[in-house]
Symmetry: C2
Amino acid sequence: MTKPKDKFTVEVCFTPVLYPHILTQSNFIVVIVDILRATTSICTALACGVKAIIPVATLDEAREMKKKGYLVASERDGIVMDFADFGNSPFNFMKPEVKGKTIAYSTTNGTKAIQAASNDSNVVIGSFLNLSALAIWLIQQQKNVVILSSGWKNKFNLEDSVFAGALTSILLKNSGFVTECDSAKAAMDLWKLARNNLMEYIEKASHRHRLKKLVLDDVLEYTFTVDSTDVIPILNNGMIIKA
Amino acid sequence: MTKPKDKFTVEVCFTPVLYPHILTQSNFIVVIVDILRATTSICTALACGVKAIIPVATLDEAREMKKKGYLVASERDGIVMDFADFGNSPFNFMKPEVKGKTIAYSTTNGTKAIQAASNDSNVVIGSFLNLSALAIWLIQQQKNVVILSSGWKNKFNLEDSVFAGALTSILLKNSGFVTECDSAKAAMDLWKLARNNLMEYIEKASHRHRLKKLVLDDVLEYTFTVDSTDVIPILNNGMIIKA
């Protein structure tokens, strides 16, 4: 991406499938987004005293981690796996028994995005819960930013895109960031439409209806609570820890 | 995609990279969109009496077609190739000398999308020029609809997405179509924001600025003229002809 001197760029990538085609080539941080629900849960976990999260992509890896004695959070399509200690609802990570623990974490979409990005850049975890804290932290890093939505089974989804728009809007407003990315511009427009009533806007997201069918939508109001924590989860040697 | 009985679905695919991941599996028509500028030019060509367009993906194929005696329209990144008769500005297809001719056509993004979709479904060409006529034709076909944006080098772009939103909005308003596709919902929201002043909205599209740098933006106002033709270009045995 072309950029004015001394400005950093923001690029939005709507699904991991598009990640190989990003234009940002160097000196960048990737913000992983999976609002429903991996990145919301990871922010919750670290905010509630979980020591570290180890993201794993496959069920086999998750099963191996269980054998090694880790607590395991694992689900597919919203269903908790039988060998796992719990699924990926953020409420599970608020329990006293997870405090100080390291938890292996495997989910449908979120982990895939983390692994897609982890090889070539710094990775940080974003959700509405840590929106402002994350924006401030990104401004301090003095790097370009790529916001990578997890999507749903490789497709665009509304909730991650609206978050990407929220984060882009703050970065562009408060500091030396610019964007020439159409995805970022579209995401900001969606955030503009959604921001005054996030819950109502997200009513139309298809993933929200999938969760409803699975009776997993108890978490929605919590998920769209903006700025409930200052935690900045970063990926460090394969583990997600507090920055 | 789940759908109520007797309703047809609309799905939007923001770039050809995402096309292998569409959820629509059967009985569907793909609408190819490359507003700046292939599908706008194709609509113009057929409206102005060009007999047929043969889309070709590579420059080698385009060169071969020239040797075979076809008129050839070919450009990369907005630059006309030296062996070609002209580039892909719609104005080229308004000249009297193209009337009744078959033209081989190779472009940066549009042809790729046509070829991505051509193997497994019916293909039709969409642009703002034939928006309403296309919507009416699609309603008559009694099939599911996938709107495939060409994007820019595999990335999301605003102008194709806004068009996808415009077409989806008409289909959902006037007939037996439904959507559970978040991309379609986002596209409709972008169209809502853009529709009252398309030219102003598209000012922020990055591709529009690329064209401006190449001094190719003389065509913009024409491109965003809604409903200037009733032509329905369809793909038939590798050739684009009037339906």
